[in-house]
Symmetry: C2
Subunit: 316 residues, 2 copies
């Protein structure tokens, strides 16, 4: 029987998961991403970790299907033009890692897309083949799955909903060069920024006023406790997300929408706020898809990378 | 060799096309949709026309793959809850027609989705597997194709972009019950309505002032000839479409966007206006897909229905 190894190459850590072909997690591992040492060292580290995992579990490398999720758009050819978080550009991660692993194939995809596949395989999307996972973390990412396959997109930009333009009143520049992207408002970063703005514009009492290094969790927790300004902020930011979800559902009409990423830790509280905004937009109410929470947390990426390797490989 | 028969069941006429398996159009036919006589008569008419076509071309009905595009959302089960244009509701068009045709399978899909498949097969989308056809007619419709398959959607609403909410300033109600849908502004109906509004709000000279039963063609022709108010109207309406296209491309990242429907008869003039608006939105310029004109006109539906039958059938 084949085994699947899912790798999630992030800016801080590289996560590994070894799975049976059917998706039972056998071992999880994490190593630091030594960005300061450059790309070659990072890939050497990954290859060494894979070999160690293979050995520890008494597997045969040639019997393993390897998938890797990576920050940044992955082109059809497997080329990645730029991974901002990793400080890497114009490279072929699959070929590089394969070369270090006796040339066995390494299937590479975008990390948000991997997370979506992971949630479909073993998380909140089980039983669904048409879904979108929206990840609310430092930014807003998503993976769109149609008929069981993720939409990579022509330029590797499928599901890049963070840069949908939603707010004409945004004064700050987005990383992408635009102003008013969903990323700037419905992310953890956005919530903190808007809380700061609303605080500075009023003298109203708020439990989050004066908190040093205010976090999105602070704002959401205060909102949960009934703090008016915090609740106003969360509502303000999530309304833009609700509208974007409505637009997206008119394009792909999914069975289910999953919310993941750090902000989803606020659970049903945030899920219900998002749904309440979303449901106001489509007048064809039939189109409303349920919004649920993602279930795999930070492991979604390794699950999805493993699943992608399984699906991409023709040999079983 | 199998033959494909594509049927396009519209509110005014039913169109038929007989194709070789490879998509060469052998015969085209059209009959009126006798809406006033009710559903049974319409389906009897269609079945009789199919039998006549089969006979005229010396085909064997059992050797034909039959597809039918139909107005309204087609659910997974083949059920159509409502076809407003046809005055039909809660019916199974595929089963009804099949019953009248010796029970050979009839593959049914939404008409906008059929048109998109047709354009991919033999029209402006040839050579592409990831595209969207946007139809600007009485309303705004679309068909979204990912990896060669059209997105029907969970509730048959895939590609229903006409009801994306774009204009908070819209005073009138949309058919869907909303206000400010793309349908109300970027369609032929929308162009005429906005031209009327802009005319009534100013005294400025315009060649379209006073035209009885003003049409979208009148407005676009005047815009082409340099009429300021007409050009202002077309620009105003198409900017909303450009923004919507940008949002859509961040979800599905297509290879190409096709513009079809009555308004697309204005050719490169309208295509360039749409593209000029669209290209202002995404700041990640790599994501920009070319906008081209659809090529099959009113025949896209029969091509696409035939193609859909071909793809849905497993027997060759």
């Amino acid at each position: 029987m084949k085994y699947c190894i899912g790798i999630d190459l992030g800016g801080t850590t590289v996560k590994f998961g070894v799975f049976t072909y059917d998706g039972v997690l056998i071992q999880k591992k994490e190593i630091p991403t030594r960005k300061e040492c450059g790309r070659d060292v990072i890939f050497d580290d990954i290859a060494a970790a894979v070999r160690k995992i293979v050995q520890e579990n008494s597997l045969d490398l040639n019997n393993c299907l390897i998938g890797m999720g990576i920050a940044g758009p992955v082109e059809d050819t497997g080329r990645v033009e730029v991974s901002v978080n990793l400080g890497m550009s114009a490279y072929y991660p699959g070929i590089e890692l394969s070369r270090l692993l006796d040339n066995i194939p390494v299937y590479v995809l975008n990390d948000a897309n991997a997370a979506a596949l992971g949630e479909m395989w073993k998380g909140g999307g089980r039983g669904h083949k048409n879904m979108i996972l929206i990840t609310l973390g430092t930014g807003v990412g998503s993976g769109v799955i149609i008929d069981g396959s993720v939409i990579h997109g022509t330029h590797g930009l499928g599901g890049e909903i963070g840069h949908i333009w939603v707010n004409p009143d945004e004064p700050d520049l987005c990383q992408c060069g635009g102003r008013g992207c969903l990323d700037q408002i419905a992310s953890a970063t956005g919530i903190v920024k808007y809380a700061d703005r609303f605080l500075s514009r009023s003298d109203q009492f708020s439990t989050i006023r004066g908190i040093k290094n205010l976090s999105a969790k602070d704002v959401i927790d205060a909102a949960k406790s009934g703090d008016y300004l915090a609740m106003y902020t969360v509502n303000y930011c999530m309304e833009f997300l609700g509208k974007a979800i409505a637009d997206i559902t008119y394009v792909i009409d999914p069975e289910i929408i999953l919310i993941g990423g750090g902000i989803s830790k606020a659970g049903d509280f945030i899920r219900e706020i998002i749904y309440d905004h979303y449901k106001n937009y489509p007048k064809i109410k039939k189109t409303l898809a349920p919004i649920e929470l993602a279930q795999l947390g930070g492991d979604a990426g390794i699950y999805g990378a493993a699943f992608f390797a399984r699906e991409s490989s023709t040999s079983v």
